[in-house]
Symmetry: D2
Subunit: 275 residues, 4 copies
C-alpha cells in the first residue's frame, strides 16, 4: 500500500526517527512527550501562568491557539499575530518549545519565526498547498487526523509534507466524527497501534478535542499511553468556565497535575519514561 | 440557530437571490443549471471537444480541474495554470462560463482572472482563510459540502464567505462519508431540502463524486432534481477508461446526452425549466 | 460477490419477480406501490379514518405498528395483538392489504394470520433466527435496511429469508445513521440504484423515518421515485402533534394527498404508473 | 437523562453492584475479569485445550460461540446445541464459568441451562423481545453495544433487561462502525469512561472483534484497562489460520499469555488486581 514512498524509505532505513525539538524528543525511544496549554491564547499573563504550572507538572511543550479555526465566523477567532508573539515570549522565558496552528500556506513563514512546531488542524489535513509549503521548511510539523480521514489518507497527507524534504512529521490522533453524541468526537486509539505498525512516525493523542469533556480526558490520556502513543496534547485553562474557546474540555492546572501522576504510572507500565 | 447572520439577512429581505453568471442564473427561479466537463483538464483538444458535446446536450457551464486535490502526492495533480488558461480559452470560444477549483487563498486572485466561478472542494470547506479571501472578490463561489460536515457547518462556511461581502454563494452537495462501501460517498439528498428550508441559497448536486460509479449518476441526477436541486455538476470524459483522474465515475458524452433527456422530464415534473 | 446464491439464481432466471399481494404488485413492472398509515396503531377509529383517507389519495396498502421497537422501555410499546386485530379488520373492511412489524421469531405465525406482509425493522435486519423463520412462511416480507448495514449485508439478510424458500422479499431503504444531526437518519437513495443493479428484488423507500421531519417527506418521496424506487412507505396521522410515536415525521391526510399529486408527476416522468 | 429508571435506582442505592458468577466477580471493585476462548466452538478437544491454556494464563471465564450470527447464510453457522453442551462440559471440568451468545428469545431457556452468562451480540442489542426475555431469568447477561448504537441507546437496552427484574447486566464495548477501513470496527474506549460516569454497571471490552487484527489486540486490551474497563473478552484459537470464523483476529494461546503479562502491568498501574 505504502510502497515506494517517503515513509517506507525513511522507516526501512532503520535510522533514528524520533523528532527532535531543541532538547526535547518525540518518538518510540523518547520519554512520553506532553504538550499542554490553553485552547486559545487570551492574554499573556494567563498564558504565562498556565505554562508555568503545566511545566511544573511535567509538560515539555506549550500549546496555544493564535489563529483559531472556528465553525462560525461569529465565534472568537483568536488574537492572531500578537497572540503568537506572546506564545513565543513565554516559551523563550520558560525555556520550552511552543506549538501553534497554521491554517494557510501564506502564514507558514511568519509562523515558523515564532513557534517551534507548526500544527496542522483536523480541518486542514488535506489542505495540500499548506502541506506542500510545510514540506519546504526546517521545523517539525504536527499533523492532526481529519474528522473523516482514514488512516491511509492521514499517512498520505504526511507524505505531502515529506515529499518536499521535511521528514519531521508528528501525527496526532484527535478523534473522528461518528454517530455518537455523548462525546464530541470518537477517539480512535486503534489508529495509534495501526500507525505504529505501518510507519515509524511519532504519534501523539489529543484527548481534549476528542472527548470534549474534561472528566473524560484523564481516562483517555491513560488509555492513549497504554496503546503506545508517544505523547499527549492536553488543553489546560486556569479557569475553564471562563475560557473563550472550548472551556468544557479544558483541565484546570490542578486536574492536569493529577492526570500527570496517573499517566506516569501507565507510562512506566509500558516501559516508557515520563519526564 | 442561524439568527443574526448574513444568510438570514439576505433571505428575509426577500430579494432576488439567484446567482447570475453572465446570462446564466442559478437558483430557485432559474432554469436547471447544468455544469459538465472532465474531472481534470488533460489537454486543450479533449477539453474543447468535451465542452462542445456537453453544451450541445444542454450544459450551460464547463467544469475542469487544473489544480487537483488528490489524496496521494504521487497521483496526477492537474496541469495547473496552463490548464486554467485552456479552460478560459475554451469557455470564451464557446461562449459559456467556466468553473474550476481553488485550493489556496494565495491562488484566489489568479484564479479569478481565468474562471467565472471559483469552486471550493469538500476538503477545503473549512479552510477559513480561503473562505475569507473568497469573501473579498466579486465572483460567485461554489461551496462543496465537506465529507464529515453537518449541514449547519456548511451554512456557517457560507457565512465565512458572505461576511466579507460576497453573497454569491452556491452550495453543492457531493456526498458525505459513511460506512457504506459500494458507493464512493453517500449522497445526502435530504440536505438539499434542508438547505432550502433554512436558507435561500442556490444548491446543486454532484452525483459523480458522490456515487463514484457512472451507472449511478443518472438515477441520482434525476433524484436530485426531484428533491429540489437547482442544478447538477456532472463529470464527462470522452474516454472514461483512459481518464487521468476518477474515470470510473465519468459519463461519456453520449451517456450525458441520454441523462439530460431523462433529467429534463423530471425538471418539467417539478415545474422547473431545463434549458 | 453474490454468486451462487438465491438472488442471483432468481434474478438470472429472468422470471417475473414482482411481488404480488392479492391484486397489488410491487416491482419494476408494477405501478408505484404506496403504503401509508400511522406509525403506531392507537385505536381502531383513528386507524380506519386514516386508512380511508390515504386510500382515497392513492395508497394501496395500510401500515400500522402493533409491536413497536422503541429505544426506551418506558416509551409507548404499541397495542400488541389487539392492535394487530384492528389492522386486520380495517384492511378487510376496506379491501386492501395490511403490513405490520414482527420483532421475534416466536411471533411470526400469529403475525402471519393477521397481516398480508410482515415487516422486519431496521434494528432486526440481522436477527437471523427471525429471518430464517420468515423464510418458511408463504407471505411477503418487507426487509428494512439496518442503520449501520452495508448494502451487501442487506442483500445477504434477504438471502437468509430466501434460502428457506420464501423468495417474496421486498427491500426498504429507510436511512442510515451518520454524523448529520438535522435529519433523523441519512436517506441513502443511491442504495436504490445499487440494489437495482445488483438484484431484481423490489425496493421501496421510507422517507418518514429517514428524515424525521414532515416537511422533508414530500421532497424525499419524489426523489426516491426519480431514483427508481418501486414504492413508498409513508407515515400519516390525522393529528400528528398528538401521535403516541414519531409525530413530528407524520403527514396529515391532507399533506399526504398533496404529496401523492406531486409524486404521481415524477412517476409519470420516469415511465411508471401511479395507481 | 436517565432519571427514574432502573440504572439510576440501582446505582444511587450505592449497593454492591459487581456482578457475581460463582466465585468470579465483575465490576469496579473486582479484579480484572478476563474471558477468553475461540470465536466459534469447532470441536470439544480444541475447546478443552484452548480453555486449559487460557485459564493457565489467567482467564477466568471461557467463551465459545455455538450459534453464530454470520452476515451470510452460507458461512459456518456454529455447531448449535451440541457445541453448547461441549462448552458446558469443558467449563464444569475445568471449574470455570462459560459464556455463549443467544440470538433468539426462544432459545433463552435452553441456553440458560448450559451457560453461566448469556451474551447478546451487537446485532441484537435492540432485539427487544430477546432483552425482555433475558429480564426474566436469574443469570447474568453480557450486552454488547450495537454497531450504530449511541451510548444512550445502549444503556436503554440495559434498561429493557433490568425492567424485568434481572439487574445482572454487564456491558461490553466491541467497536462501532465508522468510515475507517484498516480496522474492522472503531473501538470506542471513551464509551467505557462515559458509561462509568453515567452508571454503575460493569463494562468490559472486546478488542478482538473491534479491531479485527490480532496484532492490534494487545495494545487495545492494555488501553481498555487503562481507560477503566472492568474486564476483557479475547478470542483465542490454537491455530488461527485454520479457524472456521474470524481467524485473523484470534490470538494464539502463546500470544494470549504474553498479552496477559502486559495487561497485568497496566491493571496494577490503575490499582486493579489482575487475577
Amino acid at each position: 500500500m505504502l510502497a515506494d514512498n517517503r515513509i517506507k524509505a525513511m522507516c526501512s532505513a532503520g535510522a533514528e526517527n524520533d523528532v527532535s525539538i531543541g532538547r526535547m524528543r518525540i518518538g518510540k525511544d523518547a520519554p512520553l512527550a506532553v504538550i499542554a496549554g490553553p485552547c486559545a491564547i487570551e492574554n499573556e499573563q494567563m498564558l504565562r501562568e498556565t505554562a508555568r504550572l503545566v511545566i511544573k507538572s511535567g509538560a515539555q511543550m506549550i500549546r496555544g491557539g493564535a489563529f483559531k479555526p472556528r465553525s462560525s465566523p461569529y465565534s472568537f477567532q483568536g488574537l492572531g499575530l500578537p497572540g503568537l508573539k506572546m506564545l513565543h515570549r513565554v516559551g523563550r522565558e520558560l525555556g520550552v518549545p511552543v506549538i501553534s496552528e497554521v491554517m494557510d500556506s501564506g502564514d507558514v513563514e511568519v509562523m515558523a519565526e515564532y513557534v517551534d512546531v507548526l500544527q496542522v488542524g483536523a480541518r486542514n489535513m488535506q489542505n495540500f498547498p499548506l502541506l506542500r509549503k510545510l514540506g519546504t521548511i526546517d521545523k517539525p510539523v504536527l499533523l492532526k487526523r481529519g474528522l473523516a480521514a482514514t488512516i491511509e489518507e492521514w499517512l498520505l497527507a504526511a507524505e505531502y509534507i515529506m515529499v518536499g524534504g521535511n521528514e519531521k512529521v508528528i501525527l496526532c490522533e484527535r478523534g473522528i466524527r461518528t454517530h455518537e453524541r455523548w462525546t464530541r468526537n470518537t477517539l480512535d486509539l486503534s489508529a495509534v497501534a495501526v500507525v505504529k505498525s505501518r510507519s515509524c512516525l511519532p504519534v501523539i493523542v489529543d484527548p481534549s478535542h476528542a472527548t470534549g469533556h474534561n472528566h473524560l480526558v484523564a481516562p483517555m490520556a491513560k488509555a492513549a499511553v497504554a496503546a503506545g502513543a508517544d505523547g499527549l496534547m492536553i488543553e489546560v485553562h486556569p479557569c475553564p468556565e471562563k475560557a473563550m474557546s472550548d472551556g468544557q474540555q479544558a483541565l484546570t492546572p490542578e486536574q492536569f497535575r493529577e492526570m500527570m501522576l496517573e499517566v506516569s504510572r501507565i507510562a512506566a507500565a509500558v516501559g516508557r519514561h515520563a519526564v
